[in-house]
């Protein structure tokens, strides 16, 4: 076969411009900076009447950051199908940079003068973990809004990881929403998915704001709690969370946390009026069942706690939000264990919440049952189903690997906290709670105050907040990718040096 000349086979160049550099990591970082700039600008603007110093700083930072981010974004080319490792390492890098910038803002505005406190506060914000080193009731309005805004942004990152990035990485074989129906999907491609998710998130935030205002909260409280409810973040404008709020606000919070802990795939089908896929969703049924069972069991086990209060505690735990209506760490040990199980299970996949996720937990229960049955009949063919669809072996393998990694990291977190002088139960509880992006528990206090912990213990929490937000397997994938890239770079550098020496 004769080879045609290259000129006949090459695609015509559309433009004489130099090709723009492409990097998913840089794209993720610039997008993050733009979003943070918007949050900062909003906080500065909305809080301008309260503290002009902080408002000016935040407003100025917001403008600069947004401008820089947009300018940098235009210079980059967006690849439609980056390698899995690049997507996840890009998101991890973006998160780390946001945390560092947030830490800088806390220090620059004088919110705290301790670097460790600023770092932990920023990490808790962007990871939507309800732990704090500050007393929010003493913060000026711009900083309260900024603080809540970091959780709002962190929640959005979490949803984008679950709804956009992971399906892109795992090519539709994830448990997230794949089994609940046909028709127009939430995420036909990354760009449309990101737009739809952002719109739903924004509208949900506005609805929560309206709900809190209608329940009698002031404007500041409503904005802060709207931000931290939809993101399942749990920060409050008060040091004692929802203790001082009435039943109206608590009811709004319960509804908000329930929806925030639901999968965005489920929300999408609900918005489109498709009931059948909702009914078929095993994960949704298990989620609702856990909420109901958790509420009833807490009410039965805890002395002096009514069903409404129990429902609040159970919803806050399962959605991994972390709001509190009292010091629940003083309740009976059986209630603490029940809440820990809910925290560890976590919310639905494809939501802003954390934890192991209901879909994974239910799949693992099915897997355990199958293995029990296989003991009796090793040659049996047993299929594990969710929502009427069979779950393939590669997904099962990944899910079991995830669970082992999750438990291993919980153990590591517990060990590090214990080494930093946290008592055994506190270390285990806080380790699981932080990894699930919930936050408060035995070891801190019911309101997530990190004061009982030593500075070393607080610093140890930071990487586990990242692990919880990005979910563990993708984080390990990102780390292993970064490690391979670094190894490759070292190998290339060594080759260059060896060649230079030989010459």
């Amino acid at each position: 076969m004769t080879k045609r000349p290259k000129s006949e086979t090459a695609l015509p160049r559309l433009s004489q411009e130099r090709a723009r550099p492409s990097s998913y990591a840089r794209l993720a970082v610039t997008d993050g900076i733009v979003a943070l700039g918007v949050i900062a600008a909003f906080s500065g603007l909305a809080g301008a009447f309260d503290d002009s110093g902080d408002a000016l700083f935040l407003g100025g930072f917001g403008v600069v950051a947004t401008t820089f981010g947009v300018a940098a974004h235009r210079r980059l080319d967006r690849r439609l199908r980056p390698a899995p490792g690049r997507v996840l390492s890009g998101l991890a890098l973006s998160w780390l940079i946001l945390v560092v910038i947030g830490m800088g803002i806390y220090l620059a505005t004088g919110t705290t003068d301790r670097v460790d406190n600023a770092l932990v506060e920023s990490a808790a914000g962007f990871s939507t973990t309800s732990v704090t080193t500050l007393d929010p009731s003493t913060l000026p309005v711009p900083m309260q809004l900024f603080r809540a805004g970091t959780q709002w942004l962190g929640g959005l990152i979490g949803i984008i990881v679950g709804v956009v990035a992971l399906p892109l990485v795992f090519r539709g074989s994830m448990l997230t929403g794949a089994a609940i129906g046909s028709g127009e999907r939430l995420n036909p491609n990354a760009t449309i998915a990101q737009q739809r998710v952002s719109k739903i998130y924004l509208v949900f935030t506005l609805l929560m704001f309206g709900g809190y205002v209608a329940s009698g909260l002031g404007a500041l409280d409503s904005i802060v709690h709207a931000f931290t409810t939809v993101s399942t973040g749990g920060f409050s404008s008060h040091a004692d969370s929802f203790v001082g709020f009435g039943s109206g606000a608590r009811t709004v919070a319960v509804v908000g946390m329930t929806v925030a802990g639901s999968s965005y795939f489920v929300i999408w089908w609900a918005l489109r009026g498709r009931i059948a896929p909702l009914w078929r969703s095993t994960e949704l049924r298990v989620y609702v069942g856990l909420l109901a069972a958790g509420s009833v069991l807490v009410a039965l086990s805890a002395d002096g706690v009514g069903l409404g209060e129990a429902a609040f505690m159970a919803t806050s735990a399962l959605s991994t939000t972390g709001y509190a209506i009292g010091d629940w760490t003083l309740l009976d040990d059986s209630v603490l264990m029940l809440l820990l199980i809910l925290i560890g299970t976590g919310s639905m996949s494809g939501s802003a919440g954390g934890g192991l996720r209901v879909a994974r937990a239910w799949t693992l229960v099915g897997f355990a049952r199958r293995e029990l049955r296989r003991q009796l009949d090793p040659h049996s063919v047993a299929v594990i189903k969710q929502g009427g669809a069979a779950i393939g072996e590669p997904v099962l393998e990944r899910t079991t690997g995830y669970q082992i990694a999750h438990l291993g990291l919980s153990g590591l977190a517990a060990f590090l906290l214990a080494a930093a002088d946290v008592d055994v139960v506190g270390a285990i509880y806080t380790g699981i709670s932080v990894l699930s992006t919930h936050g408060p528990g035995v070891g801190t206090d019911a309101f997530g105050n990190l004061e009982p912990l030593s500075p070393l213990a607080r610093l140890f929490l930071t990487p586990f907040m990242l692990a919880g937000r990005l979910t563990i397997l993708p984080l390990l994938l990102a780390v292993s990718f970064a490690f391979r890239v670094e190894k490759g770079a070292i190998r290339r550098a060594r080759r260059i040096i060896t060649r230079a020496i030989r010459r």
């Binding site: 040990d333 438990l407 080494a419 397997l473």
Partner: protein, 525 residues
């Protein structure tokens, strides 16, 4: 023999004598149970002799128990024969045997009034007796006893013997003696200790079982001799501690366990015995036949020793730097407790509740390491408990493969243990085991706290019971009694968990499968 079969026998030239027909009701479960009870009654009988020759406090209790156990055992053994040996029958045989042996094994404690003090009612005495029996046969080592000095020496020797029986496995004992049980015997051995390696030491199953018991008995005798050579333990003490050391059970005739002697020499001797009992017995067999390099070549053995060394260094570091121990005490107490708990034996060298050997008083970091040892346990094919080191290795390898598969979906990535690839169904089974373990821990802690236990004690006790460790954290530490830390219903739950852990979950959860299927079949007919 009915008329049709009789005619067929005549046609074939076979005997028609009734004595040549297989005797007994065909029921594998009852047959295995009978053999096991008979063997346990031998231990009861020997303990009766010890009691008569020593304190004479519980000789009638032990004698009556021997007669009950022996009578029941022989009746079941002779009155039944091996029936079907399908998988569900095997699980039923193992599960029910252990349960009935535990219940019958509680009778000596009940009749001797071991728990009849302080106004304890009969119900609580029964619960405590069953708890003690379960702790014995499952080689856990947790105790509900508080008045050790008032117990008869024969009864305490019986208590030690329950762990010795449970260490190698009473079903393995049955398989080793009766060639009839060779059919499906390997399934029975594997069901009693369904770890990843049910190594065959010989071509025939009954020989394999016999070899295991030979190593076990010889090892016990060596430990007796070593303990007698060390100043401190008497002949009685040496035999008693040898029984619970080789089985990695951890019972002691004394309330303060090995701390009673306050002797480093005794502790070192006991540590050597515990380490030996926690290693795969097939390695000991191969070493005895001249292949000493078997230890070095085994990946699990290397990982187990490495784990103990690292855990030991971390704990010693915490004790020295955090708790202010002197370096010698840090090494002494740290090393002993790490070995005792890493081998799932559970001995303590604490002298009293404020002693440096009481690990519940140690720094939190050291206690978390202890908890990690509770979970992992020791080697497969040994008398120890826990998840087992090999499973941890395989599951870690599985997790790393999950990450790599995400990057290379089409790559062929086998899970390896050492240099050998592990079959996918075995990886699946181990993952399933680990999941069941995690679910049982969560459920167990919830149940114990709901029944009135403290959170820290409940976490330690649940993990400790499933791993057959012995002591727990908090109020159920090494110097405490479980009767003070947990109410009666919680002790029942822990007794069940001890048996579930000893049989590595599946047999106890599946023991109802055969009877339910039989009922289902009869209903359908």
């Amino acid at each position: 023999m009915n008329r049709r079969l009789r005619q067929r026998a005549i046609d074939l030239g076979q005997s028609t004598r009734l004595s040549d027909e297989p005797r007994g009701i065909p029921n594998t479960t009852l047959h295995v149970m009978g053999i096991a009870l008979t063997f346990v009654s031998v231990g009861m009988g020997l303990s009766t002799i010890v009691e008569v020759l020593s304190t004479s406090k519980a000789e009638y209790a032990l004698l009556i128990s021997t007669l009950i156990c022996g009578g029941l055992g022989v009746s079941l053994w002779r009155g039944t024969r091996v029936g079907t040996v399908r998988t569900r029958d095997v699980f039923a045989a193992v599960g029910w045997t252990w349960l009935i042996v535990t219940l019958v094994g509680a009778v000596p404690f009940l009749l001797a009034g071991s728990f009849a003090f302080g106004g304890m009612d009969l119900g609580e005495q029964i619960v405590n007796s069953i708890f003690e029996s379960a702790s014995g046969f499952s080689c856990t080592g947790s105790t509900a006893l508080t008045n050790f000095e008032e117990q008869g020496r024969g009864l305490m020797m019986y208590r030690q013997a329950t762990q010795w029986y449970g260490g190698m496995g009473i079903v393995v004992l049955a398989v080793s003696v009766l060639p009839f049980l060779g059919v499906g015997g390997l399934d029975l051995i594997a069901a009693e200790a369904p770890g990843p390696s049910s190594d065959r030491l010989a071509p025939r199953v009954s020989e394999t079982a016999r070899h295991l018991w030979v190593i076990y008995v010889l090892f016990t005798m060596v430990v007796v001799l070593v303990l007698m050579a060390v100043p401190g333990p008497s002949l009685y003490d040496s035999i008693a501690h040898a029984l619970s050391t080789t089985s990695t059970g951890g019972f002691s005739p004394y309330g303060d366990s090995i701390g009673h002697y306050d002797s480093v020499a005794v502790e070192i001797a006991i540590m050597a015995g515990m380490l030996y009992g926690a290693v795969n017995f097939s390695l000991h067999w191969r070493a005895a036949r001249g292949e000493l390099s078997a230890y070095r070549k085994d990946s699990e053995f290397r990982a187990f020793i490495g784990m103990l060394l690292v855990a030991g260094m971390i704990v010693i570091g915490f004790l020295w730097l955090d708790d202010g121990f002197s370096i010698t005490n840090a090494i002494r107490y740290g090393a002993f407790n790490v070995v005792a708990l890493g081998t799932s034996t559970g001995y303590s060298n604490a002298q009293g509740t404020t002693s440096e050997g009481d690990f519940v008083l140690w720094a939190s970091g050291a206690q978390i390491v202890i908890l990690f040892l509770f979970v992992v346990g020791a080697s497969t094919g040994s008398t120890a408990g826990g998840i087992k080191v090999m499973r941890v290795q395989v599951l870690c390898s599985h997790t790393i493969r999950s990450i790599r598969r995400t990057q290379q979906p089409r790559a062929v990535l086998p899970v390896k243990h050492g240099s050998r690839a592990v079959a996918e169904d075995i990886v699946s089974r181990m993952a399933g085991f680990f999941l069941l373990y995690a679910l049982l821990v969560a459920f167990g802690v919830l149940l114990l706290t709901g029944l009135g236990g403290d959170l820290d004690a409940s976490i330690g006790a649940t993990i400790g019971a499933l791993g057959n460790m012995g002591p727990a954290l908090g109020e159920a530490g090494p110097t405490a009694s479980f009767s003070d830390a947990f109410p009666e219903p919680a002790r029942v739950v822990l007794s069940a968990y001890m048996l579930i852990g000893r049989l590595e979950i599946f047999p106890m959860l599946l023991m109802f499968a055969a009877p339910l299927r039989a009922i289902g079949d009869r209903t359908r007919r």
